[in-house]
Amino acid sequence: MSLYNSKINFKCIIEKLPQINLLKSIGVREGMTVCIKSKQPFGGPVVIEMGKRSVAIARDVAQQILVREVQ
């Protein structure tokens, strides 16, 4: 399932990331537990929570991030 389609406030683990350097250096990595905090309409980004941090990720990228729900 893609991160973009996971439900808001449901924890999931990242299984696969697209090849985008900034994603890694901003600290998003495979194996991390994250959850979507909010989603913007009209193709806007999602904001995910990882640990105590929040990161906004464009829809196109979030669609390429594969996750597994853990609840």
Binding site: I20, N21, L22, L23, K24, S25, I26, G27, R29, K37, S38, K39, Q40, P41, F42, G43, G44, P45, V47, G51, K52, R53, S54, V55, A56, I57, A58, R59, D60, V61
Partner: protein, 588 residues
């Protein structure tokens, strides 16, 4: 206006001065550390990408001297963006004696990953574990001594804004500078190994207390949801507008105008009349349009109140960490004009002054986005000084007209954005933006920032303004204005329907944006003429300092293209409005 000088002060570096690089991820408090250590003022802001160009400053520790180089903040050292390339070049080529690497204690993982990348360059490193106060408030506790052992470098906890720990930091920097790095001991980690190592260290040194979120944390999260995020954004922006426009009018009427009219101008009149008798020189100096009359009234009484209030609002928004939240909300709309939401920051800055806005586009990762944002700001975003001028010109006449000018500006931004997105090759990067904590801005650094920006405006605006007014008074007094006006009459009176004196605005508008508006003040223009004059001034050529920065950032060809298109558009749209309205009114 408020225009920004990029201070690359020429500091003389002596042979035995210590050369220190200041590095770190974006938004870790690097600018604050730099200002505190050097006593130089650089601006900080609570979002990524404050430091895009580098600055050097001299520092002293006891009787020793050194130079501190503020390297652009980046997430990694892989040279994938301009800022990263600059950072890597510094590490490779500057032969620094020591690196001070600032780490964000609330974000240890990403920061330690960066720390390991720096350690690969064989330069002694001292770590500043900054924002330790915020970390504590969040319930994060870090064992500094353990961290020191794990990293094998000194680690000092700091609260940069309160100057805590910075003295120790310098002491350590001098202590380790020049230490030979034992190359044999160094391990080169692959990226995955590095993250694993970071994860292991964090388990060792960090304990997190789970606590209920604070009010600001909850508010910060709410701002990110379409509801209530959008209503909140609306309230925030309307409040900002109210403070600048309403507050500006109040300040102007209550303080600045009386001060200028009753005290400053009479003072200069008295002074000058002691030396000069009535005549051309007298008029140029203190006549109705004299250098010491309009040259003071315009910048100080009409413009300064708005600039000052704009910078209060901007600085507050920056330091609170609200802007990245706004970026998330506008991203979907901004993508329609070819840029991602993060560009809201330079665009909002453009409502203050286009110069820092254009420099701020360096944080954008693609050339296409930079060009779009810089062109939009040069074309259709009025700077705070011009806003002040518009309010002076239109505010008393009709607020509706003022609103109309801003509506036209907004429509132009949308249309120009869509067109540029279509015709400029290349693409824009998807949004990937760290959202900082919402913070109550620190009073003293906020105050300093507002003061710094206002001061810069006064210095940068006053001289060109006086020269512009002096030049205007001279051409008017000598009758030259009439002959020049004659030449451009087909354009001004014919096509735009403005009185011949409006030529002056077009001449002075080259110097500063508000000077394209202010000469229209006492011409008794009709409503249509006011509108046309304002629209022409809005789109008209970017001012001299903006032209300078465009050339510096994008080269002559592109700047010329931007400059020429804004002028052509200004006259085209102005004339179009004039003729359409005239034609329609003939029908009725």
């Amino acid at each position: 206006m408020g225009c920004h000088t990029s201070k690359e002060a020429d500091i003389h570096i002596e042979k035995d001065d210590l050369k220190i690089l200041l590095m770190g991820n974006p938004n870790v408090g690097k600018s604050v550390v730099f200002s505190k250590l050097t006593g130089m003022d650089v601006m900080s802001a609570n979002y990524t990408g404050t430091t895009v160009s580098y600055t050097k400053g001299g520092i002293r520790y006891k009787d020793k001297k050194g130079v501190l180089i503020d390297v652009p903040g980046t997430y990694s050292l892989e040279a994938t963006s301009v800022a990263e390339e600059v950072a890597v070049d510094f590490l490779k080529e500057e032969s620094a004696d020591v690196v001070i690497c600032v780490l964000d204690a609330t974000n240890l993982e990403r920061n330690l990953n960066f720390a390991f990348q720096i350690k690969e360059y064989n330069i002694p490193v001292v770590f500043a574990l900054n924002l330790i106060d915020v970390a504590r408030r969040q319930g994060v506790d870090i064992d500094v001594q353990k961290l020191e052992r794990e990293l094998g470098n000194p680690v000092i906890s700091t609260v940069a804004i309160r100057n805590i720990g910075l003295g120790d930091l310098l002491e350590k920097a001098w202590e380790v500078a020049g230490n030979e790095i034992d190359v044999a001991e160094k391990v080169d980690l692959t990226e995955d190994e590095r993250w694993q190592e970071v994860g292991r260290i964090i388990k060792e040194v960090q304990t997190v207390d789970h606590r209920h979120p604070t009010f600001l944390e909850k508010l910060g999260d709410q701002c990110l949801k379409p509801f209530p995020g959008l209503p909140i954004a609306f309230v925030v922006l309307m409040t900002a507008l109210g403070v600048v426009v309403g507050g500006g009018k109040g300040l102007r009427a209550a303080i600045f105008l009386p001060l200028v009219h009753n005290w400053i101008v009479p003072f200069f009149r008295m002074l000058v009349s002691n030396f000069v008798t009535e005549g051309v020189i007298y008029n140029v100096l203190v006549g109705e349009y004299g250098v010491f009359v309009k040259g003071i009234e315009w910048p100080f009484a009409l413009i300064l109140p708005y600039v000052f209030l704009f910078y209060i609002v901007l600085s507050f928004l920056e330091d609170s960490g609200y802007l990245p939240r706004l970026a998330v909300l506008v991203d979907a709309s901004f993508r329609r004009i070819g840029i991602q939401g993060g560009n809201i920051v330079p665009i909002i800055m453009g409502y203050g002054c286009a110069v820092p806005a254009i420099l701020g586009t360096r944080a954008a990762t693609t050339k296409k986005e930079r060009i779009i944002v810089a062109s939009l700001v040069s074309l259709a975003v009025p700077c705070a000084a011009q806003t002040g001028a518009f309010i002076a010109l239109l505010g008393d006449h009709s607020l509706l007209l003022l609103g109309l000018v801003y509506l036209i500006s907004f429509i132009a931004i949308v249309i120009a954005g869509i067109l540029m997105d279509k015709f400029i090759p290349g693409q824009s990067d998807p949004m990937l933006l760290e959202i900082p904590n919402l913070l109550m801005p620190d009073g003293s650094s906020l105050f300093k920032k507002i003061w710094l920006r206002t001061k810069e405006f006064m210095l940068e605006a006053e001289v060109p303004m006086m020269m512009g007014v002096g030049f205007a008074a001279l051409v008017a007094e000598t009758g030259m204005l009439n002959s020049i006006s004659g030449y451009v009459a087909p354009l001004t009176t014919g096509w735009l329907g403005l009185p011949p004196e409006a030529t002056l605005g077009l001449m002075l508008g080259v110097i500063r944006r508000e000077l394209a508006v202010l000469p229209l003040l006492d011409l008794n223009l009709s409503t249509l003429q006011l509108l046309v004059g304002s629209v022409v001034a809005l789109f008209y050529i970017p001012c001299l300092s903006v032209a300078g920065v465009l050339i510096k950032e994008f080269g002559l060809k592109l700047s010329l293209a931007i400059g020429v298109s804004t002028i052509v558009l200004a006259f085209f749209i102005g004339g179009l409005i004039n003729h359409t309205v005239t034609y329609i009114s003939l029908l009725f």
